[in-house]
């Protein structure tokens, strides 16, 4: 079994913005809208980084470089499909309608970031690596049991594939034949560990063979390829073809989080191709080459993105702080006697000025 030939990387637009595959079912209008999304999210991400550096938000995990791998999937889903994201998957949630200030709220320590807007069937962003993969299996299973026409999609990284939960999830999903798509964003790094130290296989997709599920490799920086792959795939899965594992080959352009310094470990590996082929620049080249957008269009979109992001920052910074004692209200459906008492003590301590004595 040769993984490279068995699981070729599906690509439509190459690094230079040249069409190298077939554009099928993706209109120019869609590509423009995708570009708008990419630029907006890139702008948000860079702003968040700066906000952290200015001390205005806390730890933040940038997603720059992975926008296409996420938007390209999200754009193919239905509003009822279940989403189980990780901490780096805000582009998915944003595309599906989560206001852009949410990721900032999270980094500012607002608990509401865990409450994705009710109309989006998404779990909170998962911090424990790979845990959400099992939730997606359960959600897909619940849909199947209730004969609902919905699928579950879960996002995780290359590092997550080393966890036991990844394996247990894929095996269970395959045995139960539930409608779930596992999206591994292979961004080449798990903090400081390169993917070739994470696993001894050239692909993640080949792990599908261990479970007899469909395995696909796609260029995650090529939004057309991602979109087209998932347009087909989600349809098959929805119709009952069983689970599928997709490896979106991409690259984490920035640091792991704002607490990370990649110059310590990104030594000697040449990432020029990845950097050149990153999703925003790549799509822009294509749209330029094909004259789908003009320089002034790009200019306008950049401006729009700035405005939208400014607004998000404003909203986040103006966001009212939850009364601290409400933390007690989300442990159980009803406060236990212990929590009633503790909530009172806590509130008492607050009003005694406890919060300024830290």
């Amino acid at each position: 079994m040769n993984p490279e030939t068995e699981f070729p990387v599906y690509r439509v637009i190459d690094q230079d913005g040249q069409l190298v595959g077939e554009r099928s079912g993706i209109t120019n209008h869609q590509l423009k809208e995708f570009y708008r999304w990419l630029v907006t999210l890139r702008t948000l991400d860079q702003r968040a980084w700066n906000l952290q550096r200015q001390g205005r938000i806390g730890t933040y995990a940038p997603f720059s470089g992975q926008e296409a791998a996420q938007i390209g999937v999200a754009a193919t889903l239905r509003p009822t499909d279940w989403i189980c994201p990780s901490y780096r998957d805000w582009p998915v949630l944003a595309y599906l309608g989560t206001p852009l200030h949410y990721p900032l709220l999270g980094s500012m320590g607002h608990p509401e970031a865990g409450h994705i807007p009710d109309e989006i069937p998404s779990l909170p962003a998962q911090v424990v690596i790979a845990a959400q993969i099992l939730h997606a299996v359960g959600l897909a299973w619940s849909a199947k049991l209730q004969r609902q026409d919905r699928i579950a999609v879960t996002f995780f990284g290359d590092g997550a594939t080393s966890q036991g939960d990844f394996h247990e999830a894929l095996n269970l999903a395959s045995v139960m034949k539930v409608p779930v798509i596992f999206v591994a964003q292979n961004n080449q790094w798990a903090i400081s560990v390169p993917v070739h130290r994470q696993m001894n296989t050239p692909t993640i997709a080949q792990r599908a063979l261990a479970y007899n599920v469909e395995g696909i490799r796609v260029d995650g920086n090529d939004i057309a390829a991602v979109y087209q792959t998932f347009m087909d795939l989600q349809k098959r899965v929805r119709e009952g073809s069983g689970p599928a594992l997709v490896e979106a080959v991409t690259y984490r352009l920035g640091a792991h989080t704002t607490a990370d310094d990649p110059t310590r470990y990104r030594i000697g590996d040449d990432d020029t191709p990845f950097r050149r082929g990153e999703p925003v620049a790549r799509l822009r080249r294509y749209l330029e080459n094909e004259h789908i957008l003009s320089p002034s269009d790009f200019e306008a979109m950049d401006q729009d993105a700035k405005i939208v992001v400014d607004k998000a920052v404003e909203t986040a910074e103006a966001y009212p702080k939850n009364p601290p004692e409400t933390i007690f209200d989300h442990v159980y459906a009803e406060l236990t006697p212990q929590l009633v008492r503790q909530r009172q003590e806590f509130a008492q301590h607050l009003s005694d000025g406890g919060d300024i004595h830290g």
Partner: protein
């Protein structure tokens, strides 16, 4: 009303819940055709079919992790962990995921799952099959922990757990599965979670126990009675959240307490109880609260287990020690 063993009562409860609510499904290792290694799910596979009584692959993290998803998706999964000793495999999915999702999502989501797990000693199981690990979960906010000592309570607690909107760990004392029969109503009834049960009224000392140790406490109480020591016996039934009022008011009356549990001593729930008692009933206490527990070793081989587990004599000895203090 039929006389049922605890395992029959549990089985009846599962059947009832599945009949009443099509969202209830049972999943775990060997719960299907085999009816569970202790037969708790006996007959359910035939009655409700393989879609609702599911033999999972051998993977505890998957059992609980997928149950979290099933619950959020609208089902009411009842997951079986074949023995509590194997629950370590799924601690993240229980303690960080199931127990914490309400909190993490600001109550957008809640996780109504029941995790059933046989536990405890006394029936000569192979190693690692008899551990009592309640303390780990009592220390985990967001999950409730219950354990019955009678067939009646077993059914009532299980039905209460199924109806609870939050995750509940039901620890089932293996040695009580078939230890006795009791009249158990055929219909739906619930033992409210969070309520202890006073098994025996007494004046001189309170003995607190749960699971298999309740019978040991009661036997010790009977023996003490002969010596004119009047023992109040409390069966906690719910280990989290604790029914502090029942405990404290008993000790305010008796002024003395002994706690009995199978789990190893250090860091066990007995410590928490003693701490609360001395904190809230300090002036009533006429002697230190004593603990009769498993020793601080791994659960020993079958030939030693009876010596290792708290027995009537050890409980009685502690009662004497407390009374004579």
């Amino acid at each position: 009303m039929a006389k049922l063993t605890m395992i029959q009562a549990l089985n009846q409860a599962l059947g009832l819940a599945m009949e009443k609510d099509s969202r209830v499904i049972v999943l775990g290792e060997d719960v299907g055709r085999n009816g569970g290694v202790f037969r708790a799910t006996e007959g359910l596979y035939d009655r409700f079919g393989p879609e609702r009584v599911v033999d999972t692959p051998l993977a505890e993290s998957a059992i609980v992790g997928s149950s979290v998803g099933l619950a959020i998706g609208g089902m009411r999964p009842i997951a079986e962990i074949q023995f509590l000793g194997f629950i370590y495999e799924t601690m993240d999915q229980i303690c960080t995921q199931a127990a914490r999702l309400r909190f993490r999502s600001q109550s957008r989501y809640h996780v109504p799952i029941v995790i059933r797990a046989p536990y405890g000693g006394g029936i000569r199981t192979p190693e690692i099959h008899s551990d009592s690990l309640e303390a780990l979960f009592v220390h985990t906010p967001g999950i409730k922990v219950v354990t019955p000592s009678t067939p009646y309570d077993a059914k009532g607690l299980l039905l209460g757990a199924i109806n609870d909107p939050d995750p509940v760990l039901l620890m089932e004392p293996i040695s009580l599965y078939r230890a006795s029969h009791e009249e158990v109503p055929e219909d739906w009834y619930e033992v409210p979670l969070g309520t202890a049960s006073v098994k025996r009224r007494g004046e001189d000392i309170t003995v607190i126990a749960w699971g298999k140790m309740v019978a040991t406490a009661e036997a010790a109480a009977k023996k003490a009675q002969i010596e004119h020591i009047s023992v109040e016996v409390i069966d906690l039934r719910t280990l989290s959240p604790l029914d502090e009022d029942t405990i404290i008011s008993s000790i305010q009356k008796t002024g003395r307490a002994v706690i009995v549990h199978e789990a190893v001593r250090t860091g066990g729930l007995g410590g928490e109880l003693a701490a609360q008692i001395q904190e809230r009933a300090f002036l009533s206490l006429e002697a230190p609260v004593l603990r009769v527990t498993g020793y601080d070793t791994p659960y020993p081989v079958p030939s030693v287990e009876d010596l290792w587990l708290p027995d009537v004599d050890r409980v009685l000895e502690s009662i004497h020690q407390t009374i004579r203090y």
